[in-house]
């Protein structure tokens, strides 16, 4: 019984302790990658919205990337509250132009990104998961 209590205490202590010590510089770098990736996804998810198959595939791809990135950040001891905020802000529906945006505005906006389709088709956007993993791997234990 005593051994079991000790095990629980140890587990709680470990879960409350960040796995790695993140520097402010690393946190800034990670957030800059997020800003870039979210800006790109805003464009492709909005401008592909009338191409159902492409939009579904982009959404699935982005979901995989962001979930993997968030998991890596959680593993590196990123504060849970900040991860929750980031998770909500990076959701596809949060990134895309609001549903009540006049379509004329959406057309004009998408026309300012003439290369959005080749970028989306070739998945040529920021590899957020890889970039964040690289930054986090620099963290000294």
């Amino acid at each position: 019984m005593r051994a079991a209590r000790g095990g629980i205490a140890l587990a709680l202590a470990l879960s409350a302790t960040p796995a790695l010590a993140l520097t402010d510089g690393q946190k800034d770098q990670v957030m800059l990658w997020w800003q870039q990736a979210m800006a790109e996804q805003t464009v492709v998810l909005t401008c592909a919205a009338t191409q159902n198959d492409l939009e579904k595939s982009l959404r699935k791809r982005w979901e995989g990337i962001r979930q993997q990135t968030l998991a890596a950040m959680a593993g590196a001891g990123w504060p849970a509250g900040e991860l929750k905020t980031l998770r909500a802000a990076s959701a596809p529906d949060a990134l895309r132009k609001p549903a009540d945006t006049p379509f004329g505005e959406v057309i004009a906006w998408c026309n300012t990104f003439p290369d959005w389709f080749p970028v989306a088709r070739d998945l040529a956007f920021t590899a957020l998961d890889a970039e964040v993993a690289r930054v986090l791997s620099d963290t000294a234990p």
Binding site: C47, T50, Q51, A99, D100, F103, G104, V106, I107, N111
Partner: protein, 132 residues
């Protein structure tokens, strides 16, 4: 939006009025199909441009075919063009979500166009038998 039936009943020569309902119905059907292509491609200029060019070419070919069949309403092109905004493409103020829903209902539109499965307007009007 004026439907093709109304327009053609007014514009076709009296001798061709018996065909006007049929031609108008076919024209409306093709315009409905192109409304999907033209609307759902609007956000992608690289896809929209060839679809628009194809549509314009077909309108020109159709005018020629109608003329050859003696069924040429002088301003058919104007009629089709009059359906451009709010007819073949949504009004600028249409909510983004409405356009998304419309295009989601026709999710195979790009594949249909890319595989040349779209309707050819002059062929759809079936004017062969009308040639004088």
């Amino acid at each position: 939006m004026i439907r093709a039936a109304t327009f053609l009943a007014l514009a076709l020569p009296a001798a061709a009025q018996d065909r006007s309902d049929e031609i108008a119905a076919q024209l409306d059907e093709v315009m409905a199909e192109y409304r999907v292509y033209l609307t759902c491609s609007t956000l992608d200029p690289e896809v929209h441009a060839p679809i628009l060019a194809r549509w314009k070419n077909m309108v020109a070919e159709t005018q020629l075919a109608l003329a050859e069949a003696g069924l040429a309403p002088a301003n058919l092109g104007d009629f089709i063009a009059s359906g451009w905004t709010g007819g073949l493409t949504p009004e600028p103020g249409t909510p983004f979500a409405d356009v998304q829903s419309f295009c989601a209902k026709h999710s195979g539109w790009l594949r249909a166009f890319d595989s040349f499965s779209y309707t050819k307007l002059p062929d759809a009007l079936d004017l062969e038998g009308d040639t004088p």
